[in-house]
Amino acid sequence: MYNDKVMDHFMNPRNVGEIQDADGAGQVGNPVCGDVMRITIRVEDGKIADIKFRTFGCGAAIATSSMVTELVKGLTLDEAMEVSNKAVAEALGGLPAQKMHCSNLAADALHKAIEDYRAKHPANSGA
């Protein structure tokens, strides 16, 4: 069902956890549909210095969460905002069609975390 890359991120997820006193946090999904993802970020010099995720969900939900953290670590906030759910799925070498919607929301969680940071830090949100 899943390719090797997806299975690798699912079985050996990168950046699992929650950053204490995070600069920004974003959560998407709800228990009704079965996938909930939460991303926390630490921002330094307008860049994502650290990022962690926690996910309740299926293999695709966990793998996309892991992949998005890997993709954006070190990027500027503007660059990270450009990373789409589709790009995450592509970086994983593709997902089964039925997983493209509700299980592929990790980039949305990231964007929410960035928006949360910007709302809390209006002075240096340009970056």
Partner: protein, 394 residues
């Protein structure tokens, strides 16, 4: 069978999805083999080849009938459980159209029944979907209350396929008989596992499927009580008393018959053995992993059936981990069904969505040993804690 086999990585292989399907037993395969090429005749032919095939089909019919206390003439062979459900429900509805237009079923039926009822609603019938309690059990009183002058069919399953609860079909049968309403039972999950007597249980129509009881796939049967009339759903030749046209699947039917014979013979011992394994698995998981709940009735359940929800984590991610450890199971999570909703059965039982998503069904069978169960119990806790460490919840 599979119990002690190891794959090339040296990982134990434990198949725990016998409610999805079972392997064909060696004895069953042996019984079937002559009917592919050697004795290949068409049972409707009058020559020697035909007569051989006819004798084999009738022998199988008697074995299937014997498993459920029926007479051989009351067994109609079909292509499986789904077709038998369709024939029972659509066949009764359309035959009795002039007498009434109301059907009673439950909210926890298999899709073969539910989607058939939903189709009939579109065709002008009225259907009552009865609720269940937290164990997935139907209250016979609710059945009685739902009966109206228009009621022509009650269709209730025997063993629930997702949570294993055994429904009170005997009590419901008495009610149906008292009110003169035709009673259909989907016994796909219970046949061959627990005793069924269609007379004692007042059942008019009963569905069975071969591949859930170590027979081949694509064969099943509908028991049709003598005197009960149906509208055929497949029209053509006069096979199967005119109720199911089409040349019989002779090897499949022979295999199904042999599977029924063996199931009947071995049921007393095998159901006890499975019950012990089942309770060992349930106890082992509930004792070693916190925040787990058994779904379905704790004791009034199929001997081979375990369904457990793991709080804070999702079913598919558990299944993938189990699969990598050589264990095959299934889940009621939406993410495994390809739909947006988790299992309709778990929701009907009032389970919150999180728990429905976190359900894992493990159904035991002939190939499973105590060592298999202990292996599963040893493998699960680290999987669950790893996924919980990753989870948003808790």
């Amino acid at each position: 069978m599979t119990s002690d086999s190891e794959n090339k990585a040296g990982v134990r292989r434990v198949y725990l999805d016998h409610s999805a399907t079972t392997p064909v037993r060696a004895e069953v395969m042996g019984a079937m083999m002559p009917y592919f090429a050697g004795q290949f005749g068409n049972p409707s032919s009058i020559h020697r080849w035909g007569r051989e095939a006819r004798a084999a089909v009738e022998d199988a019919r008697a074995k299937v009938a014997s498993l459920i206390g029926a007479a051989p003439q009351e067994i109609i062979f079909t292509s499986g459980g789904t077709e038998a459900d369709n024939l029972a429900i659509r066949g009764t509805a359309w035959h009795k159209r002039s007498k009434g237009n109301h059907l009673i079923t439950s909210s926890v039926e298999h899709h073969a029944v539910l989607h058939t009822c939903e189709t009939l609603e579109k065709e002008g019938f009225k259907v009552t979907y009865l609720p269940v309690d937290k164990y997935g059990m139907i209250d016979p009183e609710d059945v009685e209350k739902a009966i109206t002058d228009e009621t022509i069919l009650i269709t209730i399953m025997h063993g629930q396929n997702e949570v294993g609860t055994i429904e009170p079909v005997r009590e419901i049968g008495q009610i149906a008989r008292r009110h003169g309403v035709t009673f259909h039972v989907d016994a796909v999950q219970s046949a061959g596992k627990i005793p069924i007597d269609v007379s004692d249980m007042n059942i008019d129509l009963l569905t069975m499927s071969s591949h859930k009881m170590y027979g081949p796939k694509g064969v099943g049967a509908l028991y049709v009580r003598k005197g009960v009339r149906l509208s055929p759903q497949a029209t053509g030749g006069s096979h199967e008393r005119g109720l199911r046209a089409g040349t019989e699947n002779v090897p499949g039917i022979v295999g199904f018959g042999e599977a029924c014979r063996l199931a009947k013979e071995e049921m007393p011992e095998e159901s006890l053995r499975l019950t012990r394994l089942r309770d060992r698995l349930i106890g082992g998981i509930l004792d070693s992993i916190p925040d787990t709940v058994l779904n379905g009735h704790p004791t009034i359940r199929l001997p081979h059936h375990v369904n457990i929800s793991f709080k804070f984590i999702e079913g598919e991610s558990i299944l993938l981990n189990l699969d990598l450890m050589g264990i095959g199971a299934s889940s009621g999570s939406a993410c495994t069904s390809g739909s947006l909703e988790p299992s309709h059965v778990l929701l009907a039982m009032g389970l919150p969505h999180e728990l429905a998503h976190g359900s894992v069904r493990m159904t035991l069978g002939k190939g499973n040993s105590e060592e298999d169960i202990d292996y599963v119990i040893s493998v699960l806790p680290p999987i669950v804690s790893k996924l919980r460490d990753m989870s948003v919840f808790r």
